[in-house]
Point group: C2
Chain length 156, copies 2
């Protein structure tokens, strides 16, 4: 089981995607209710991959730390599961932008959250997360702010 | 997406498994909380098959009617997901016993629910479910009685 250790920020208004970075369109929906404490079961289409991701929050720290398991769904299963997300879904474009040895994942929301831009950085350890100095194009930190959780955004 | 239409009964004390029916050992756990209204995400080991089942209740009727999607997990995924069930799991032996054209699935619980025996019958339609006459070895009906839902039993 992988451990997801991440920090999350808004993106400065002045930022625009690097011209050499091709965004990946993501569509994701949730099978479970928006209960911040519980287990999250997510469906995601990323390019031509159909994935399920199960996440569960660990004890709260400065970074968001979650157990995360992601796996490809067998052929034909995604189409059956997707209707169960109801209207709990969202779409965005993801730009993977390197920052030194780290990768910033910039999510530019489309659809009803158009205009929202969020950047996430994943770390190998909590100390590495704590030591991270955001570059100038990062806006205010929103790690752990449930208003910006994708599960909540999918509902609102 | 399959529709699961079923009725559920306790099993009469006098019943014993037919000698020619080999039981299948089942171990199942839940990724989601025991919220009777929500979506249920279940992991099950049946023999050597590792399965995920997603169920969502439909409008209440005489029978329990749920959308149900079941699929095999890719190799190695079950072992990663199972720890997320915590202690929300149970074990039982399932006996498939034909009743005319129908199949009765008798669950003989093992572990901490030892002694509990429940029989479920699935139907093609709600009228077929309504017309069903239980044989003499069926005990009181417990369709929709949340005390006997596997998700609740897994918790208690």
């Amino acid at each position: 089981m992988a451990l997801e250790i991440e920090r999350k920020f808004l993106v400065d208004d002045g930022w625009s995607p690097p011209p050499d970075v091709e965004p990946e369109p993501l569509r994701q929906g949730y099978l479970t209710e928006a209960d911040a404490e519980g287990t999250e079961v997510r469906l995601r289409v990323a390019g031509d991959r159909e994935l399920m991701t199960v996440k569960r929050r660990r004890a709260a720290t400065g970074a968001a730390v979650r157990d995360e398991i992601e796996f490809p769904l067998p052929d034909g299963v995604f189409e059956q599961l997707w209707p169960l997300t109801g209207d709990q879904w969202l779409t965005k474009l993801r730009y993977d932008v390197p920052i030194g040895d780290l990768m910033a994942s910039v999510d530019v929301y489309t659809g009803r959250h158009e205009g929202l831009r969020v950047v996430e950085v994943e770390f190998d350890s909590e100390p590495a997360a704590a030591e991270f100095t955001p570059p100038a194009w990062f806006g205010p930190e929103i790690t752990g702010d449930s208003r910006y959780s994708n599960r909540v955004l999918a509902l609102t």
